[in-house]
């Protein structure tokens, strides 16, 4: 086919690597959650000197998961089309250039045909949305359709379909919901500490232990919120590598998506809708304002290097 020999087949290896790292970060996420429940109990134990039934630790887990479930259910409502239309997307006709490219790539990805939208922005970008393949939508900007060649746009579309095939929206929203849960615990901790501080006097003993629990919540909430957000971004970056490798699998043409990324790195236009920043994790490319730790996307140069197989160990030939 068209891809250079060295790259052919290495995308399987790249996919495996990204999946393995995702599992690693998810395991860390679970350990983090459990460790904080334990930490709360340790704080209480050190402060009071006696071991009691771990109500506070259990409360931490219950609050986190309750808030996370609520958030997740809220995120879940509305399919991909609602998101695309919310950002001003215009549905493209069957038989048009973009629609045909999506059709081809959906076949290559063994996915049902998603709803296809064009956003009237001149920046080169794209996104996929939707909790399941059946309810998914894919949108590309007008800039992407005008500035990219057919092969490059095909690569971008294949990347977005990769997100759908790998169920990245669902994973990302689950993690986002958990981080929201951690934040809520932190928030309760702060408020309760404040209230406890103000309402000194009265039944001293009870207030004191309540302030202590609030304080433990605050600490645990702050740590999980910070580390959880960092882990969520790490997962997100791995999913970008995975979607890139999926794009190479579908197009069998690494140069297409690699050149699209090169064009994006040279293009100065920045006009994606601001309210879309909440969806930044699913944009094709996004420059982080928070620095490396919280970046949802790896640097473009790194993505290009991975796609071209320059960072990977020698490709597994028998897989091609």
């Amino acid at each position: 086919m068209r891809g250079s020999e060295a790259v052919r087949g290495s995308f399987w290896e790249a996919q495996r690597l990204a999946r393995r790292r995702t599992s690693l970060y998810l395991t860390l996420f679970i350990i983090l959650t459990a460790a904080m429940a334990v930490l709360i109990e340790v704080i209480l134990w050190l402060a009071s000197g006696k071991l009691e039934f771990p109500w506070a630790g259990i409360a931490f887990l219950v609050v986190t998961f309750a808030v996370a479930s609520f958030q997740y259910l809220r995120f879940r409502s509305g399919g991909g089309s609602a998101v695309a239309e919310g950002l001003g997307g215009r549905r493209v006709e069957v038989g048009s250039y973009v629609h045909r490219l999506v059709e081809e790539m959906a076949i290559a990805a063994s996915l049902p045909m998603p709803a296809v939208y064009v956003l009237d922005n001149s920046e080169i970008n794209a996104f996929a949305a939707g909790m399941s393949p059946e309810r998914s939508a894919i949108a590309v900007t007008r800039g992407a359709t005008e500035k990219l060649t057919r092969d490059e746009l095909q690569g971008v579309i294949a990347h977005e379909l990769g997100h759908i095939a790998n169920a990245d929206t669902r994973l990302n929203l689950r993690l986002a919901a958990m981080v929201m849960g951690f934040f809520f615990v932190f928030f309760i901790g702060i408020r309760m500490t404040e209230i406890g501080m103000w309402s000194g006097g009265g039944r001293r003993g009870q207030t004191q232990s309540l302030v202590l629990i609030a304080f433990a919540f605050m600490i645990a909430g702050a740590i999980t919120w910070f580390l959880g957000a960092a882990l969520r971004s790490s997962v997100s970056r791995q999913r970008e590598y995975l979607a890139d490798a999926s794009a190479v699998q579908y197009t069998r043409y690494p140069e297409g998506i690699a050149n699209a990324l090169r064009k994006i790195s040279l293009d100065q236009t920045r006009d994606m809708p601001k309210r879309g920043l909440a969806f930044a994790h699913m944009y094709f490319s996004h420059r982080s304002i928070w620095g490396k730790l919280f970046a949802t996307h790896p640097p473009l140069e790194k993505r290009i290097a991975r796609i071209e197989g320059r960072e990977l160990s020698p490709p597994n030939q028998d897989q091609s």
Binding site: I107, A108, S110
Partner: protein
């Protein structure tokens, strides 16, 4: 005594869980192969449907090229027959050959069409050509997707420890749908 029973129960439960997950994984992969094949089928059918329209369209212009047209009709019915015989990932050989032949025959028509400016300029011909090109792309991508799914399915069956039970569950490796790249490239070159 109690410890022994507990250990045995745990081992049995773990084994049952593993057997279940291996079974489900294999079924899921097999279904993916099945669906991928259905997708090829859809695209092949689409192409078979377009060919009579193409013949109809070029017939009046190409009165002296009867042989070329007949070759396409023949290749089409041959390919359709070979397709009937295919069952999920088996008996692919005949179809692969018939498809190469059909592709070559179609290529000849488009090459000859170059000699008929009126035909080339007609809207009908242009639409058909575009439809066929697009279908050709889809056939290629569906074949690639099929092969990807076959690769995943076969790899799973060969890997330890799934290999121990794959045969027991009635799974066997599926055929890849490979095309003789050289022949097809020749056919494509004259095509569009």
């Amino acid at each position: 005594m109690v410890t022994t029973i507990v250990v045995i129960v745990i081992v049995v439960v773990l084994l049952a869980l593993w057997l279940m997950s291996a079974y489900n994984r294999l079924v899921r992969l097999k279904n993916q192969v099945h669906n991928a094949w259905a997708q090829i089928d859809v695209q092949l059918q689409r192409r078979y449907d377009l060919i009579p329209n193409l013949i109809e369209c070029v017939k009046e212009y190409m009165q002296y090229e009867k042989g070329t047209l007949e070759a396409v009709v023949e290749a089409r019915s041959e390919a359709m027959k070979a397709r009937e015989k295919v069952e999920d990932g088996a008996n692919l050989g005949d179809l692969m050959q018939a498809e190469v032949k059909l592709k070559g025959a179609l290529g000849n028509i488009f090459a000859l069409a170059e000699n008929y400016p009126d035909l080339k300029a007609s809207d009908n011909m242009r639409n058909l050509q575009e439809e066929l090109t697009s279908t050709e792309n889809k056939v290629a991508f569906s074949r690639q997707a099929y092969n990807d799914n076959v690769l995943l399915y076969n790899t799973e069956q060969q890997q330890f420890p799934t290999m121990l039970v794959a045969g027991m569950y009635g799974h066997k490796p599926a055929d890849l749908y490979e095309v003789d790249e050289e022949k097809v490239r020749k056919a494509v070159k004259v095509e569009f």
